[in-house]
Each structure stands twice: as C-alpha cells, then as structure tokens.
Point group: C2
Chain length 348, copies 2
C-alpha cells in the first residue's frame, strides 16, 4: 500500500484537481495529505467544497516539508501546470520530495524522468519517477489488428459530451457495482488519473495518432481475456475541437458492445471553446453513428453528473434527460450506480 | 536542387512504394536513380508497370555503390520496412550512403537520427539525417485553439475511402491546376511523402493524439495567411480500424470549407482488414456528418483513381460514380484535374 502526498498547489478545486479528486475518492486509504498552500490547515473535502465528500479527514498542508510528518512514500502530481511547462516553484517541491526519499508519480505530458535535473536527483536518492503518461514500449508502435474479444465478454465504453464530465468516475463506479454483485469485472483505464487509481491502463491521449487504436485494442483484448465485464474509460468528446481524434480512436479501438453517454447537467458549451453541446438525443446519435462505421453499439443509459444542482433540481434534470432520450438515467456518485448496471444487464 | 537516390529495395511497385512514386511523379528533376536489386537494369517507370509514367528514364540500380556514379547528394528511404524495424540490409545501405557523404531523408516512425550507430556515422561524415516524421518542437505540444482562417481563404480537404487511394496526389494536382490558372494556391502536406515533395508540412500521423488537431490548425492557419486556396492533404479514412483517429483529427483541425471525396475504383474493402467500403454516397454522408459536428463542409466532387481499369472501364466508372453521387467526378492523374477545380470554384 502506497502512502501518497498529492501536490495540488493553488488548484485544489473540482475543476482543476481531477487527478487529486480521483485519488481522494477511489484510493482514500492511500492519500495521507494534500499540498496546497492556499488551503493549508483545512481538510481536503472542505477545500473541495463538500465537507462530507472525497478527502474528508485528509489534511491540506503548505509544502513538502509540512507533509513529511505524515510519512508519505510518494509525491503524486495532482494537477497540470498552466502552459504545460513545469513551474519553478513545483520543481523546488519535487526536488525536496526526492531528497526526502519519496517516489514521484506524474501524469504530465512533459516527462519528469526525462528532465536531467530531476532524473539525476532521483538517481542519487534511489527513488523512482513514474511518468504515468509514458506509453509502454510494447504498445507504443502497435498497429490495430482485427483481434476478437473473448466470447462471453462485454465491452462497455463511455461517451462524453465534453471533457471532465465524469466519464472515468462512471466507469469506476460501474466496475465497483458489478463486483459488489459478484460479477467478473475490470476497469480499463485510458487516462492518467484512471491509471493512478487502478495501477494499470494506457495513456491514450499520449499515444502517437497512428498507434492509438492499436494500443486501445491491445488493452481491451487483454481485459476481455480476464473479465466478463470490461469498463473502458472514455476520453474527450466527438465534438471537442482539440480532442475528437482521441475520442474516435478509443471508440474504434475498443470496439465496444454497449455505450453509456456521460454529461454534466447544466453544461451548455465545450469548456474553453465556442462550441454548443447539442441535445443529448443528438449526441447519442453522433456516437452511435460513429461506432456503426465499424461496429454498431447502442447507447443504453445516460450518466448525468448533477454536482452543480441542488437535490430537487438534480432529480428534475434526471427526469428531463430520461424523457428526452427514452433511456435510463442516473447520477452514480449521488444516487447510486444500480440503474446503469441494470440497463447494461438488460442488453445481454 | 537536391539530387536524390531513392531506396525502394524489393518494393518498387505502386502498392508499396508510395513515397518513391510521389517523388518520381512530382520531383522528377530531383530523382537521379532508384535502388531495388530486384529491378536493377530496368528504368523506374517500367518497374512500376507503366513505361510512360512516373520514373521514365530514371535508372534502377542494385545498391548504394551502384548509385554513386549518378552523383546523388541525398538517400531517401522510399518505403516502410515490414514490422517497423530497420532491416539489417537497409542499415548497411544507409551506412554506405552516409560514408559516401549523402544526407539521409526518412519518413519512418523509427527515427534514424536517434539510432546511435547511424547518428554517430552521420556526425563523423558531416551529413544530415532528416527524419521527416519528427514533429516540429513548436507544434508538438500545441493544443487546438479556435483560430480563424484569413477571410478570403478557401480550405479544401480530402476524404478517403481508405489509405493509399490517391488523396495526396489529388491535392498536389489541384494545387498545380490552381497555379496554372493563376490562382494563389498552396499544398499543405500532412504525411511524409507530401512533406518530401513540398519541403514543408506536418507529419500528422506521428503527432501525439492530444495535439494532432492543434498541429493541423497551426499548419492550416499559416497556409491560409499565405494562399487563397489551401489544399490540405487527408489521411486514412473514417472507417479505417487503425487510423480513423488521424482522419478525424485532420478533418476537425483543418476546419475545411469544402471537401473532395477520394476513392480507388474497384477497391471493395479496407486493405488488410475485414471492413467493406460502403457506397460513395454513404461515405459522403459520413464525412459531411463528422465535419458538421464542428463546422459544416460539403463534399463538392469525387476524385476517382482508375489506375486498375482499362480506358473504357475507367470512363464507365467515372460515369457510374457521377450518377450515384450526383457530383462531378474526375480522375485527375489520367484525365485532368479541371473538373475538380471547376467544382470548387462553383462553390465560392
């Protein structure tokens, strides 16, 4: 069991600290503290705005020196820097963690293990730098074949209206619900947070475009050989101006049998772009159309993230979405994952 | 002006030697000889099966030693190795070329400049290794923005039913036809052959998936600032099991105004996969649908590659495609590019 300190300096909020929230929610026993000097002295759940939510009881401290009394063995970079470059203040924190004997886990596109200063410091200290987004050599240049999934396996994939609407969370929740019901189930992570939570998976968005579908195929074929139910994390959105290629490569590489559509209630535009999100029934048709170019797969349920709504509005939003799409709709984090798994089982 | 020897060992045929054929067709003045021991003594056009086609008068020789009398200054790798690894026989040829003072141009995914033996040999000999597929540092980690194209520019993009049906060729032919008519026109290459022909462009299929659309956007915005007509090379196909992500990233990143659908007459399946190519009218709808997720763009003409048909069958195939789609159809290599440019001009 790792003892993880999460670096989330200045960013411990639900929008920016996706990785931190994922670890706090799904590996709470491993998270010993969070570093964010702007919230030091609080606990992580309070800083995130939901005192009984993920991070309850996990202290927030101001820097690496202050985290050492909690005896972490790993510093996990829980946020992405603005502009993609490593800020000097972070570099100092990471060097301090290395000097204190902590391993480093990072999901940044800029590989810390390739940074001469950090790499030589890690070597001197005898610690490991785990760049979660570095593709495995065996998959990095693999071209998609036409490999079949093990008969009897069910591949479920998650389609989003945008980034950061809850696709990974829904996949993890469904995997847990399936295991609770005694089913053979696995969560196939395709992003850095999912990989950090589960300890395996592929960093799809980091793959060379030519080899994305091939890497996803290998991941899913492997999971299908081990589990009856495979929940393949989705990425981005088919209508995302920057990331639609990642989304389609996952959809075609995973070759799913069933789809779940994920949306955040109230989000009207792709975050950061002048692109309106169409009605859910329209988005549903986009994904079913694109899947059918290679292998048909129906959307069988909608996962609606209602975190921005009060409880009455949340129930209304779920009912509205059900009426519009004619599909089962649930918020698995808030109201339970059962209806989504029921919808999947009804299609087998 | 470069003097190029093209390495195409064992592969000097139209299917396998796409890069070689591209150079022979569009930079014939630069190609001094082709290396393929299985065709040595022939000329390149005869080896390619069309004695009056590309490569007429260009000698085929057996190895690097035999090419030196033609005084090349560059060895261009004109084919991709099976399995992706550099065969030992090629390594020996490349080392011989370096020792003879030739620069090396390669479109392989495995960068020759990162190969310690080749890199140190090149340094000793004072020659350059140009890995055409290595993304420019300034674009490699660029996220797509929402940049507008210069008003008055027309972005044309090429949609294929499969790889290797002639998308690059049609784009180059249209650029040439537009220039012949006195229009301001540029060919924006997105693959290694196009880059080798034009000397600029981006290796789209080598981009990290997250940054593909951003790199394409930067390329197209730059070309649109310089030319009224921008012909953006397409890649792959939306129904290609391995490469559909590249195709969608290009379609969304380029944000074209007009599309041209490219097909090889007689091809019924995606090469190497058990995927049937639907009717052209169906493929047309796929591309127009996917474009419209972000920005609508009509397919205004079909480019039909009829190289496998005799002349009567070719004319029949063109007429059939025109009847099925209701669009202008032309084979620009065989019968001229005029109708395609006319169709584009009719939409401005």
């Amino acid at each position: 069991m790792r003892r993880i300190a999460i670096l989330a300096e200045g960013k411990l909020n639900p929008q920016d600290a996706k990785t931190a929230v994922g670890i706090l929610r799904y590996r709470p026993e491993a998270a010993v503290a969070v570093i964010d000097s702007t919230h030091a002295g609080s606990d992580a759940a309070a800083a995130l705005g939901d005192p009984s939510g993920p991070g309850a009881g996990v202290p927030v401290v101001s820097d690496v020196a202050a985290v050492l009394p909690y005896q972490p063995d790993t510093l996990l970079i829980g946020i992405a820097p603005i502009g993609g470059r490593l800020p000097d203040a972070w570099r100092a924190q990471i060097l301090a963690a290395i000097a204190a004997g902590l391993d480093i886990a990072s999901g940044l596109h800029h590989f810390l293990g390739d940074d001469p200063e950090l790499a030589s410091a890690a070597e001197r200290a005898g610690v490991r730098i785990w760049d979660v987004r570095r593709p495995d050599d065996a998959l990095a240049l693999r071209i998609r074949e036409d490999q079949a999934h093990r008969p009897g396996s069910h591949i479920v994939h998650f389609c989003g209206t945008d980034c950061n609407v809850g696709k990974m969370t829904v996949a993890v929740e469904l995997d847990r619900e399936a295991r609770r019901r005694g089913l053979s189930s696995g969560f196939a992570a395709t992003g850095q947070t999912g990989i950090m939570i589960s300890g395996e998976g592929i960093p799809a968005d980091r793959f060379i475009s030519d080899f994305l579908a091939g890497g996803v195929e290998a991941l899913v074929v492997d999971f299908a050989s081990r589990y009856d139910w495979v929940f393949v994390e989705g990425q981005g959105s088919l209508i995302h101006p920057a990331y639609s290629a990642v989304t389609l490569g996952l959809l075609h590489g995973a070759a799913p049998d069933l789809l779940i559509l994920c949306h955040e209630a109230g989000r009207a535009h792709i975050r950061g772009y002048d692109v309106a999100i169409p009605a859910l029934s329209v988005v549903r048709q986009m994904y079913e159309t694109a899947a059918a170019w290679l292998k048909p797969a129906p959307i069988v349920a909608v996962a609606l993230n209602t975190r921005l709504l009060n409880e009455a509005s949340a129930h209304r939003a779920l009912a509205d979405a059900a009426r519009e799409t004619g599909l089962p709709v649930a918020d698995p984090v808030r109201f339970g994952t059962g209806p989504l798994l029921d919808a999947l089982l009804a299609h087998t």
